[in-house]
Amino acid sequence: MDQKKPEYLRPALIAGAVAGVLSGLPFVSSGNCLCCLWIVGGAVLAVNLLAKHTAGVLTSGDGAIVGAFTGIVAAVVDTLMSIPLRPFNMELANRVMRKVSEFGYDMPSNLDGYLDGGAGFTSPGFFLLGLFLTAAVFTVVGVLGGIIGVSILAKKKGRPTPPTAPPSAPEVPSDAA
């Protein structure tokens, strides 16, 4: 096994930014409702980028680390994007609620307060708490995505090459003497 640590940060920053933007955009973010598609996909992308810039074969542990970093970056980007988009997201959530009640589903009377995407969390403390919760969840999902990425991309990368013998000393012609 290659004992040198791969460079995790760059792929995680790139893939995490992509996953965070997709997770933060209205409508597009609903992809995360499908098995956390953007976070898992971002982690797989990070593994792909990491594999391209790593000489040795990646282990599932490498996938876990780069996936975790990707999840953290995605959480930060997603949370930052949610600040300017908050009014739009609130309106969207209300529209969904109205649509759902039109279909005749029973809605608890005091539901609005619970399922509004944390509308009540406007203070900096709650903002940080929201960031922490999102980061924790995205990290776990990112770890999973990174490991899945390694299992999917491992074949493409190929098996580890056996260690080559050190270069032998140049042969001295026997008739030189």
Partner: protein, 176 residues
């Protein structure tokens, strides 16, 4: 792949993952229980914790004490499947080897959920709660085989790299 000390590491990761899963599932049910008891702040916090990864549309969530769970039926299926996969893990994989599931296993188990989910998002069909839950369980049951293996491998790799660095340092000191 079989390395010395592997069983203890896998077992430790397995137990921690089992504890985390129990906590995760408890939180899903705790949110509506708190809402029913009138603890609005704590309930909101738990609903908020799951909101980045689930739409939480009430009509698509099972209810508990008259309130929707913190995740939808499909997500609950995934987490329940994850717990079921953890129960099966020692019998299928054991604690003495590290091997990720192959793509040939991953794809067929992912396909039902992916097709059902994509068709739902695109408005092609609307599957019943039972189908969403079942496809979630199938996919979720596969995930511990990635998660536990990956985290155990991470710990073992770090240990091995640290040992190699220590050896290099010692060699360098010997040369000096």
């Amino acid at each position: 792949m079989s390395r010395p000390g592997i069983s203890r590491t896998v077992l430790a990761v397995y137990l921690l993952t089992a504890a985390g899963t129990a906590l995760w599932l408890s939180a899903i049910f705790l949110a509506p229980a708190l809402a029913a008891r009138g603890s609005a702040g704590a309930a909101r916090l738990l609903y908020k914790a799951f909101s980045p990864i689930c739409h939480q549309i009430p009509g698509r969530c099972l209810t508990f004490h008259g309130h929707p769970l913190a995740v939808c039926g499909r997500c609950l299926g995934i987490y329940a499947g994850f717990a079921a996969g953890l129960v099966l893990y020692p019998f299928i994989r054991g604690f003495s080897k590290l091997k990720l599931p192959s793509v040939r296993v991953f794809l067929p188990l992912t396909l039902p959920l992916a097709l059902d989910g994509a068709a739902g998002v695109l408005g092609i069909w609307k599957s019943p709660m039972g189908a969403r839950f079942a496809t979630g369980v199938v996919w979720g049951a596969l995930l511990p085989f990635f998660f536990v293996t990956g985290l155990a491998d991470l710990l073992l790799t770090r240990r091995k790299r640290a040992a190699a660095r220590g050896l290099e340092k010692r060699r360098a000191n010997d040369v000096e």
